[in-house]
């Protein structure tokens, strides 16, 4: 049961081959067996999951069920879940029981999914290796010495290890795509505004976007269809109909123009990863696509601009954690300033602290124009690069990450080296475009991801392009040894 995709599980549940309760028990047992070794879950919600499963079985019996009814999933611990701890990977929220459901959670609940639990993540989604979590690092199921990527590392590892058939993630600079690549699964970051951010704990509000992570593009299509849509409670949510992503999966690729940015294949890209990515692109040519060499000339400025904009927004967003109304409070504060400064210092880890400090500095008097304004101007240049590219091509392809998964501990003391693992994903967030990562091979035993970037609201095209590849290859069906 555990090796079936969401689409297959949905068909089996509809055919009555097994109940959602039986299915849920299988995944809960797998979590119990494998999670101690992987640390992919922060919280497992066994009893509520079984109650949701029984309710879904009831709905199916009454013929009221949609395709996701009774399908187990996991939520990244950044999404507020009513009555369930929502830690965001931080000591600050270690005892925070969310008082409401995020819109994404509400919508998936309405579709009848079963929540198995909350997945581990880099603290406040700041990290690329899942090592900044208060709850300890997650291990990569393909190689337990390796990181799963981040920040949605728990979701990626859990899907890869078949502890859940699908999960939610969030992506501010690559946090869905990079862990999807490093764990050999499929994940899509939608266009900014496509999925509601309401109830999704904010890191950098002009970049954050939630999306699905699963084994196949088809499964991501099923999940995204349920997650996407206008939400009046999110003032940046876009009011635009959600297409039937599943129905559009099979469009032919003949005549598709794939842009290959020369900046994504240059210095810094591991040669073995390059070889695997080029083989995937050759496969697309066989499927009828045409490849076009393009340039995104400001690509090298994406990381510098991001490390102004994201910390600036984070320093503002995380100002709410003051030890007064919720979250961690220090013992015996001597005055209000002591309460603020010690509660925050004790509640936040080193990477979150660094980013708050950088953001505070960049926004401080005398530095605003040189940092924040300059970064926003660069953001425009990067966005214009993509605009020009999409006048020529339908999608852009390249590596998701410059290397395969690195070892736990390898980069943890060197923030700058860690930041460079998002070199191909960050520009997509700055421009607000959709991006998808799908598994296309291995270097040794560690997976390689291909990133597909689409024009605004072209999630349907990205899912279609990934799906057609998965019809003729089996990388997405590989199972890590021991799972």
């Amino acid at each position: 049961m555990h090796d079936k995709t969401i689409a297959q599980l949905s068909a089996s549940l509809a055919a009555g081959e097994f109940s959602s309760e039986e299915l849920t028990r299988v995944f809960l047992a797998r979590i119990e067996q494998f999670n101690p070794g992987l640390n992919a879950f922060i919280t497992v919600t066994a009893e509520p999951a079984l109650a949701q499963a029984r309710a879904a079985d009831q709905r199916r019996r009454q013929g009221e069920a949609g395709p996701l009814a009774g399908v187990p999933i996991a939520h990244k611990d950044i999404f507020c879940t009513n009555g369930v701890r929502t830690s965001c990977g931080s000591r600050m929220l270690d005892r925070f029981i969310a008082p409401y459901d995020a819109t994404v959670v509400e919508k998936l609940n309405a579709a009848g999914v079963v929540m198995l639990g909350k997945t581990n993540m880099d603290e406040f989604a700041m990290g690329s290796s899942n090592e900044t979590s208060f709850y300890g690092p997650v291990r990569n199921p393909w190689d337990l010495d390796a990181v799963p990527g981040g920040s949605s590392g728990g979701s990626a590892a859990a899907v890869a290890a078949r502890l859940t058939p699908g999960a939610t993630g969030t992506d501010t600079g690559g946090s869905i795509r990079q862990p999807a690549a490093l764990c050999g699964i499929t994940g899509i970051k939608p266009t900014y505004g496509r999925v509601s951010r309401w109830g999704m704990i904010a890191y950098a509000s002009s970049l954050d976007q939630g999306g699905p992570m699963a084994r196949t593009a088809e499964d991501c299509a099923l999940l995204l269809g349920a997650m996407a849509g206008f939400d009046p409670r999110d003032s940046t949510s876009v009011d635009r109909p959600v297409p039937d992503y599943v129905a559009l999966l099979d469009q032919p690729l003949a005549g598709l123009k794939i842009g290959l940015p020369k900046e994504y294949f240059g210095e810094g890209l591991d040669s073995e990863v390059a070889r695997v990515v080029e083989a995937a692109i050759a496969e697309y040519r066989k499927l009828g696509a045409e490849t076009v060499d393009i340039s995104l000339p400001n690509s090298q400025l994406a990381i510098p601009a991001y490390y102004v904009i994201a910390p600036a927004e984070c320093s503002s967003n995380l100002a709410r954690f003051d030890g007064v109304r919720y979250g961690h409070r220090c013992e015996n504060p001597k005055d209000l300033l002591d309460l603020y400064t010690r509660s925050r210092a004790e509640g936040f880890g080193a990477e979150v602290t660094r980013r708050i400090l950088v953001g505070t500095f960049a926004l401080s008097a005398g530095y605003y124009d040189a940092y924040y304004l300059k970064a926003q101007q660069i953001r425009r240049l990067i966005s214009d690069d993509f605009r020009r590219a999409f006048a020529q091509v339908d999608v852009i392809a390249g590596p998701t990450s410059p290397t395969v998964a690195f070892n736990i501990g390898e980069k943890v003391d060197d923030p700058i080296t860690m930041y460079l693992s998002d070199i191909y994903t960050i520009a997509v967030n700055l421009a607000g475009l959709p991006g998808l990562s799908l598994p296309v091979g291995f270097v040794g035993q560690r997976p390689v991801g291909l990133q597909l970037i689409g024009n605004y609201f072209a999630e349907d095209r990205l899912l279609n392009v990934a799906h057609r590849y998965q019809q003729v290859t089996d990388w997405h069906q590989r199972v890590p040894a021991g799972f």
Partner: protein, 95 residues
């Protein structure tokens, strides 16, 4: 741009973060390295480029000034560190 421990202490105060003195040099090193990375932005002339705050260049939607949320004070106070009689307790603010 190079920051020293004293500048880190000043920024930490602005951010209301208590940084231990022994950690300040490491933060100063990290922050200086990040600002060096960020300084690569200066390689490009951006004179006349309109800053981009929203990826879709959309204006924030405004909603009608109406009460939309029910009062959930009890629910919210249940997760507060210290409350009494419906109030959030903090140390004395005025001596």
């Amino acid at each position: 741009m190079s920051l020293g421990p004293a500048e880190v202490a000043k920024i930490a105060h602005l951010a209301r973060l208590a940084i231990r003195e022994k950690d300040a040099p490491a933060y100063a090193r990290n922050l200086s390295a990040i600002l060096d990375l960020v300084a690569q932005m200066n390689a490009v002339d951006t004179t006349g480029v309109a800053p981009m705050a929203h990826p879709l260049d959309m204006a924030q939607r405004l909603r009608a000034d109406e009460v939309a949320e029910p009062n959930q004070r009890k629910h919210f106070q249940a997760i507060a560190p210290r409350v009494e009689a419906g109030l959030y307790l903090v140390p004395k603010v005025i001596e």
